[in-house]
Symmetry: C2
Subunit: 157 residues, 2 copies
DNA sequence: AAATATCAGTTGCATAATAGAACTAATTAT
DNA sequence: ATAATTAGTTCTATTATGCAACTGATATTT
C-alpha cells in the first residue's frame, strides 16, 4: 500500500485518522470501551489475526490511546486500558454507532444499545449544537479557513 | 489483505466502517462537505492515486453516500454530491476534527475551523448529552446488550 | 475549425498491510 | 508435574494502494 501518510496534513480529520491507525484500531478502541482489557479479549471479539493485533495494540500504546497496565487482579499477563486521550474518542464512536443504526441497520437490530446509565434510556443523538445547546441544522454549520480569511459554508450542495 | 469483512458483524460501528470503506473514503466525504464535487478536486486535495480514487468514489456511490449529479453549470463532466445519508456523517467528521484539534494539534493550528455560520463562533464541542440537553460525563454512559439483558457500563476502566 | 490542454479515468507493475497457519516462551490451571 | 492457555513471533499468501504511462472525451486557445 505504500502507506501514504496523512499526519503532515494540516487537516485535523486526516491527522486523527493517521494517529488512530486503521479500522482495526477503532474496533479495538470500541472493545476497550466495552471492557476488553487483554490480548485474547480483543482477539476473540474481533477475529483479528494475531500479528495484526500485536502491531495495532503497539501502535495504540505508542500513540497514547491505550496504555499497558498492571492487572488489578494480580495476574502477570499484561493488560491494556484506555487513556484519557483514548476515552475522548467516545463521541466518534457514538456518532459512528448512531449513523450505523440509522442507515445500515442490522436486521436483528443493534447488538448493543448505548444508554444514559441512570435513566436507562437510549442515548440521544449526538449532533452539533449552538452555544445555547440548541440542535443545529447542518446547513447552519460554516467553516473558516485559517490561511485566506475566506468564509464559506459546509455542505455547499 | 484478504479484506476481512465487517459488514456481517452486528455491531453498528463495524458496519458503519465497512460501509464507508476506508480512510480515504472519510477524507473524500470531508472534501465533499467542504465543496469538492469533481474528480480532480478530490485528486488534488488528497494526493490520492487515480485508480484508488476511482474505486473509492464508485464504492461511495454504490453505498449511497455520494451520488453522481448533472453539473449545475452545464458542464458535461460528471460531478459527485453528498446524499442525505452522506451528509449525516457530519457528526462523525466533527468529532474526528475536534479530537484532532485537542489531542494531535498541528503546530500551525487547524487549517479550517468549523463554526456556527450565523455567529461565526467556533462550533461547541460535540459531546453526548442527556434527554434534557445537558452534557454528560463519559462515566454516565451505559450500554444495554440486546441478547442477554445484561446491563453494564462503558469505560469499565 | 484545428490544435492543444485538461479531465476522468484504465491498465500494468511494485510495495505495504493484513490474513492465516505454525511455532514458542511464559504463565495459569489441573 | 503435566497440560492448557496466553501473548505473542515468524513465515508465506493475498489484497489494497501507490506510481507511471496511456486513452478517449471534453474544454480551451489560436
Amino acid at each position: 500500500m505504500k502507506a501514504k501518510s496523512f499526519s503532515e496534513m494540516q487537516c485535523s480529520i486526516a491527522r486523527t485518522l493517521e494517529h488512530v491507525g486503521s479500522w482495526w484500531s477503532l474496533l479495538i478502541i470500541r472493545d476497550a470501551m466495552m471492557g476488553a482489557r487483554r490480548f485474547k479479549h480483543f482477539e476473540e471479539s474481533l477475529g483479528i489475526a494475531k500479528n495484526t493485533l500485536t502491531s495495532r495494540l503497539a501502535q495504540l500504546v505508542e500513540g497514547g490511546i491505550l496504555e499497558k497496565m498492571v492487572p488489578p487482579d494480580g495476574s502477570k499477563h499484561e493488560e491494556y486500558g484506555l487513556t484519557e486521550k483514548g476515552r475522548e474518542l467516545a463521541p466518534v464512536m457514538i456518532a459512528l454507532a448512531q449513523w450505523g443504526d440509522k442507515w445500515v441497520a442490522h436486521e436483528k437490530g443493534p447488538s448493543t444499545e448505548i444508554i444514559v446509565a441512570d435513566t436507562g434510556m437510549k442515548l440521544p443523538r449526538i449532533w452539533p449544537r449552538k452555544e445555547n445547546g440548541e440542535i443545529m441544522e447542518l446547513s447552519e454549520i460554516g467553516m473558516k479557513r485559517s490561511n485566506g480569511a475566506s468564509e464559506k459554508n459546509w455542505f455547499t450542495n
